[in-house]
Amino acid sequence: MKVHVRIKRFNPEKDRRPYWADYEVPTDPFDRVLDVLHYIKWNLDGTLALRRSCAHGICGSDAMLINGRNRLACKVLVKDLGNRITVEPLRGLPVIKDLVVDMEPFFAKYRHVMPWLVNDEPPPARERLQSPEERARIDDTTKCILCAVCTTACPIFWGNGEFLGPAALVAAHRFIFDSRDRAAAERLALLAERSGAFKCRTVFNCTDACPQGIEITKAIQELKRAIVLSRA
């Protein structure tokens, strides 16, 4: 089947502002949007810029706005979109070229929440013990692939670039609730700041958009509760 594809294009070396470009692409219903974009890039216009790597939803490179929703281009199939496909770069991050946005502001927020296990007690000769229940406590938030789909779907983030955003909060959650970690208090203090967890207004866009199916809004509410309890 033929699909009509509109892509929001911008080349910083040529264009003063973004414009829409249209393409007709022969596809199979089971093609990924990434396959469609590759067809355009490899057959119609080699100047099209987009990030991608694994092509099966694991690496988190190809997040973009597809038919009005943030998704991974390799994880959405043509058959689920119909014969008109519109592709734009993620919102809320500066556009570099076509579908490529500047990811540095996103990763700076991630780094801000100390996304690493802190435990400076001398480790045992073997593994630290952790019960299956303790491990299950963090299972959901360990799935994050840092694709930025959630943060760039969040209206609070669009309105206030200072907001840490859902992805950084998910990273903080993964460590705060890890039974082996010892820096929860420090992280909770960071999240209690003005740009932190309480900026979340439970819009649920993040949860709806997450390609890993993480219950992000729920995780953020757990963080808010932990902050309140830590003050009590």
Binding site: R32, T47, R126, E127
Partner: protein
Amino acid sequence: MPVHEYDAVIVGAGGAGLFAALELGRQRDLRVAVLSKLYPTRSHTGAAQGGIGAALGNEEEDHWEWHMFDTVKGGDYLVDQDAAEILAREAIETIYDLEHYGLPFDRTPDGRIAQRRFGGHTHHFGQGPVRRACHAADRTGHMILQTLYQQCLRNNVHFFNEFQVVDLLLEDGVAAGVVAWEILTGELHVFHSRAVMFATGGWGRIFKVSSNAHTLTGDGAAICWRRGIPLEDMEFYQFHPTGIYRLGILMSEAARGEGAILRNRHGERFMERYSPNLLDLAPRDIIARAMITEIREGRGIDGKDYLHLDFTHLPRQVLDEKLPEITSFARTYLGVDPATQPVPVQPTAHYAMGGIPTDVWGRVIRDERNTPVPGLYAAGECACVSVHGANRLGTNSLVDILVFGRRAGRDMARYLKEAERVPVAHNPDSDVREELERLRNSTGGEKVGTIREELAACMMEWCGIFRNGPDLQRMLDKLGELRDRYARITLDDRGCKFNQDLLEAWELGCLLDVAEATVRSALNRTESRGAHMREDYPKRDDAQWLKHTLLYRDGRFAYKPVTITRFQPQERKY
């Protein structure tokens, strides 16, 4: 041209590169840079699913000697046994290291690291499957990548994201740095350093159906080859039995570890005929050949070129809890629910056993006498230690990147205590600048995408699971033709910023190089061993070929003996 000064430069941010960087970063007084063509968390280590083999013995009796034996036998006795011993012994402490760094392994009821079965891993030297693979659901690689990246951030490692390394600087045979292309701006940078490590992963994209990311184009191996380093055992390339039909996306061996079964069009569990002992958990080369044989003999599903991976007898809970990712792959990409319908699969190009030759400390060697190149290191899939020999066991790629990434980091730290800084030549970037300008401005009309597609299709056909002399010669001729056409490509994008058209053209040059090394080595080795199956030489020939291939870019071959310590070569049966 910006010049950066570092003690160590690591190229690639997968498990091997990050573990080495972490070892160096923890030294505090060393300046360490990691250069990645991607963002580090995009590296293909993150796609590894099933587990990391280590004889912890948490679930049942296990010993590193058994793991070592499985590795040697799995590799059809081409494995260097001193390296395999290190792999199997140090896997254990490396797993504990990772756990202490925060990796969220699945747990046993008493809180220890949970382990499961995997292909080719056995107890009592081949008696039957053993629970050895440590895992975090089927996202083990993702957790490794995240954990190591996080600890690198904590430990003062500098990251240069979306920097494509395009050349290695060797001054009088000593590593002195690299030239890198900043993808964002198109600018070339020189990284001047006392040690350089390549950890750039594999080159599955030389084949049409592949589990590998689009970005796995063999850059590190090609760069070293161009600078006079030989490539070792390039003829050994592994096809994973269970790729999703046509897409090549991996259905982890953990699926079969948890009980899934391969079936042909008659519903028959055909592995009973090929490996009566290990069945669906036989090593990958054996299963992949069995599958192609079934297909050739008309027992593919509907007579086509695929088979079924059957989960339907497993409790839904196993799929949801132990195999959530691959369950979701089947649903997303095929619209198939594995709990009720079998999944169409075919072998998919997966892993290069060969690569840049190194010793057991990750030091790159330049000849059959194991002469090291001072300051130059490699680890992970781009390297050949050799712990995988002629065929890698499942989970051992993760063990390899972790054990030898860590060792390379430690040895670099030692080397850097004494190594002098070598000055670099006047215009270190002139060679690549010329090459890139040629690619940017050439006007012959050939398309990068077309050449790449033809390369991958022909490699699949003529240099895939079954090989023979005439086909390999045909492939070599084809490579000549593709190279001629590569000299006449025309790009659409001649700009500087984020010019992926140019990037893909440069990557295609690497693909052509590693494909050529693969085909030449495959044509040269007139025996069948592990993943290298010559229909015209179907037997293993230890008298002639119990040796490693070294191939230089000028076409010259050299050979290195296989190190044999504990296990004498035997016939390989499962």
